[in-house]
């Protein structure tokens, strides 16, 4: 079962996303990186993520854009520069700015989702991620 990495600095949003994933019936293990540097550490298996059994490489990343230390788009850029990382990266941001959306796709995001203003709608978002990215989508490494 694919591991999900949630890169999100807002504790509240982490809580709501975890709730929504649970309600959507997503049982995949989920880990949280609370800033951009932690996300890169996770990919490298460095620092507190050194234990690969506990923190296996993720198959799906939910990436916020506004993050401390390393911004989301820079994390995305870094991930796409690593040839051995065929991972689905879904941007999940409150920004619906055209510039952000364009840059995200240019840097290799697989999808761009805007955080719904109404948190209860997150369950729908989670369900669609489950159906498409966790069920039907196939990656080259598999």
């Amino acid at each position: 079962m694919k591991t999900i990495l949630l890169v999100e600095d807002e504790e509240d949003d982490v809580f709501f996303l975890q709730q929504a994933f649970r309600k959507a019936g997503i049982l995949n293990p989920m880990h949280v990186a609370s800033d951009g540097q932690q996300a890169i550490d996770y990919f490298k298996g460095a620092g507190k993520f050194a234990n690969r059994t506990e923190f296996p490489p993720p198959g799906l990343v939910l990436l916020d854009l506004k993050l401390p230390y390393v911004m989301g788009l820079d994390v995305l850029k870094w991930v796409r520069q690593q040839p051995e990382l065929p991972v689905v990266v879904i941007i999940l941001s409150s920004s619906s700015e055209l510039a952000d959306i364009k840059t995200a796709y240019r840097l290799g995001a697989n999808a761009y989702l805007v955080k719904p203003p109404d948190v209860s709608k997150l369950v729908e978002v989670a369900k669609s991620i489950k159906d498409f990215w966790l069920t039907h989508n196939v990656l080259p490494a598999e």
């Binding site: 807002e10 509240d12 709730q19 619906s96 700015e97 955080k115 203003p117 109404d118 948190v119 209860s120």
Partner: protein
């Protein structure tokens, strides 16, 4: 103030006059006559020397003796004119009256001539005019420079404003999402453990958070309509409206009944702006109905000259005549907030968007008999 401008102002009031003559006594005579003018006088005893002076500074006017050895006044003038920086510098020839010479001097771009022997009054007056002209031109340049700086400041301010609203959309909305989310979480997860008062209060928190979020969104939309680029193009209004009805569940039965009377014509406008207008107008028509009534909206169009008037007829509560003029103003609401939710920005956005597309908006309405809002835009071919 920029360095460039300050340097420029230092030179203000010191217009330069270049006098060119091979006879020192003639130069001295002219210098004495022109001494009263608010200008620096620069002397040159040959055409070559004159050209050298022109390399260093700008002159309000050049007084050029025609009869000089080696390089005469005409040759000098021709060389001066070849230099791009001196193409418009006024040249006054100093010469004995000779019709042929005169014709040649004007052909070389002289603006005037002064006859020898020199009459001091005439020389001073003529040169004075050019010094004055030069000073005024400098002043205009300086004002243009200031204007340019203002434009830069405004552009900068605009950019800051943009960054500000960008940060609003991120930073202000996140805590609101938390408020609404946690209240909703308590309602959902502690079902049965909370009494009805607690649930109702949590619902109020949710509603307030959503209302504030709507307000932020509307302010941002309004700001976008005010400042965004709005290139005008051919817009297929019929497709746009039908697509929107398909997209919004609230615009479909059983929640609302929207009917397009005839295929709507295409207009000249901006698609994003028009989407915003239709969204606000239909949104209002659905919102402002008597309690329990099914919103019924008829969208129609009529040709008025070269323009199309698209109207949105509803079966809503209507608007009293005394309120009709103020509903397009920012934050004006004519119905109590407790009864109908709204931010008071929607119609302001519509009016501004239509204005920016070069059109008009209006309404006919009577309390209890519904409203008919219209927007009028240029018809596309």
């Amino acid at each position: 103030m920029s360095l460039r401008l300050r340097a420029f102002m230092g030179a203000e009031g010191t217009a330069n006059i270049l006098i060119v003559d091979d006879r020192p006594e003639q130069l001295l005579a002219m210098q004495v006559v022109l001494a009263d003018l608010p200008a620096n006088i620069v002397r040159a005893e040959s055409g070559k020397e004159a050209l050298r002076q022109l390399l260093h500074q700008e002159f309000a006017v050049i007084l050029l003796d025609v009869k000089m050895p080696i390089m005469d006044g005409f040759e000098t003038a021709a060389l001066i004119r070849q230099r791009p920086a001196c193409q418009d510098t006024p040249i006054i020839f100093v010469t004995a009256y000779d019709l042929e010479d005169l014709a040649r001097s004007y052909a070389l771009g002289a603006v005037d001539y002064i006859q020898t022997p020199i009459v001091p009054e005439i020389l001073r007056t003529k040169v004075g005019v050019f010094v004055d002209l030069f000073t005024k031109a400098q002043k205009i340049k300086q004002q243009a420079q200031q204007l340019q700086e203002h434009v830069q400041e405004l552009t900068e301010l605009n950019r800051e404003l943009e960054a500000f609203s960008y940060s609003i959309s991120h930073d202000m909305r996140a805590p609101l999402r938390s408020m609404q989310g946690f209240a909703q979480h308590l309602i959902d997860e502690y079902n049965g453990k909370l009494d009805e008062h607690a649930v109702s209060r949590l619902q109020r928190i949710c509603r307030s958070a959503i209302r504030l979020d709507n307000l932020i969104q509307d302010v941002l939309s309004y700001q976008k309509i005010l400042r965004a680029e709005a290139p005008k193009d051919h817009v297929d209004l019929d497709r746009l409206v039908r697509d929107m009805i398909q997209t919004y569940p609230d615009w479909q039965p059983p929640k609302a009944h929207i009917q397009i009377e005839n295929a709507l014509p295409s207009v000249i406008g901006n698609e994003a702006f028009l989407t915003q207008c239709v969204s606000s107008l239909v949104g209002n028509a659905i919102k402002f109905v008597p309690p329990g009534a099914l919103p019924e909206i008829k969208i129609g169009s009529e040709l008025i000259g070269s323009q199309v008037r698209v109207s949105f007829q509803d079966n809503g509560i209507g608007i009293a005549p005394e309120d009709q003029s103020r509903i397009f103003r920012l934050f004006e609401r004519v119905s109590p907030a407790t009864q109908y939710e709204g931010t008071g920005i929607g119609l302001t956005i519509v009016r501004k968007a239509v204005q920016r597309m070069g059109g008009q908006v209006g309404l006919q309405s009577e309390p209890g008999k519904g409203s008919r809002f219209w927007i009028q835009l240029e018809k596309a071919d």
